[in-house]
């Protein structure tokens, strides 16, 4: 990632929202199938409802500066998702918005992201290694802090999601299954990897075009 100051334009944010909405919609059935294996089977449909709600309000959200836009998007997720992922993903976006300056470089983004991940851990009363979205978010946060490239961060997310497959769930509905949760990817981790890879692809395409 470049060390230069970045400010996302309204068009940038609309494009990112569109890309995330499309990625979630395309994978909604897969996310729900993962959740049927070890959760309550609503993750895909809930995430789709959340990102559809953000997209429906994209004009108003993207009129705001990036920090406020992130907070508004997070609040949309909280109010529309209906499952546990609403407050968790909502807290991620809202804390990112609270912690990010309007003009930022990679270091500031990494700092804000680290705070956002800690807030998700506090909201979910969870920690690393419990087969949750944190098992993707922490490695991504570390990669950002280490100044890794966009492509490397995306790869870290994908590998971290795969690494949840052999884990035993200790938190959330999947923890009721105990050892039977082993052998399935955690749906929340899958969503995190999907979103990180979608954002990374958008940044790469933009840098390539520039």
């Amino acid at each position: 990632m470049s060390k230069t100051m970045t400010r996302l334009t309204s068009e940038d944010m609309k494009a990112l929202i569109g890309a995330m909405q499309a990625a979630i919609a395309e994978n909604a059935e897969r996310l729900t199938a993962l959740d049927q294996a070890i959760g309550d089977g609503d993750h895909g449909i809930n995430m789709k409802r959340g990102f559809d709600a953000i997209a429906a309000d994209a004009d108003a959200i993207c009129d705001k500066p990036t920090p406020q836009a992130l907070s508004a998007a997070g609040m949309k997720l909280v109010m529309s998702v209906g499952g546990a992922s609403g407050p968790l993903f909502g807290t991620l976006f809202m804390t990112l918005g609270k912690s990010l300056p309007e003009d930022f470089e990679c270091g500031a983004f990494a700092d804000a992201f680290a705070k956002a991940v800690d807030a998700v851990a506090a909201r979910g009363k969870s920690s690393a290694g419990q087969k949750t979205m944190l098992d993707v978010l922490y490695p991504v946060s570390d990669a950002l802090a280490a100044g890794k490239s966009v492509g490397e961060v995306a790869a870290v997310a994908a590998e971290a999601a795969e690494a949840t497959v052999p884990m035993e769930a200790k938190r959330g509905r999947a923890s009721f299954l105990g050892e039977r949760s082993i052998g399935h990817m955690d749906p929340g981790s899958c969503s995190c990897s999907l979103l990180v890879n979608t954002i990374a692809a958008w940044i790469s395409a933009k840098e390539h075009a520039a």
Partner: protein, 128 residues
Amino acid sequence: MNVGIVIVSHSPLVAEGTAQMVRQMVGEEVRLAWCGGDPDGGLGTSVQAIIDAMESVWSDAGVAVLVDLGGAESNSEMAMEVIGEPRSARIRICNAPIVEGAVMAATEAAGGSSLATVVATAEELSPL
């Protein structure tokens, strides 16, 4: 004013049924609200519906909340944050089974007990 009781279930049927049991066993005088279902009406919970339920039974005596599964708890915490300080400090989520907890909490609330006592009575039902 007595402590208000809010029942939050993933299922509107469970929430309403629990409220019916509370009404029958404790009576009409207890301040009681329930909600269940996600924003589209499927199984889940809605932060806005939880906020509305909390507001409807709000008094300075506080509100005790009974929840079923994980999402109901985190969405109730989110609702408390949206309501904000100072009122959110007078809203407590009980670590108790939803049906038994609601009946016990409502019984205690109907007798005019404090929020701390109402919550403690409901939580006596939980394994340590």
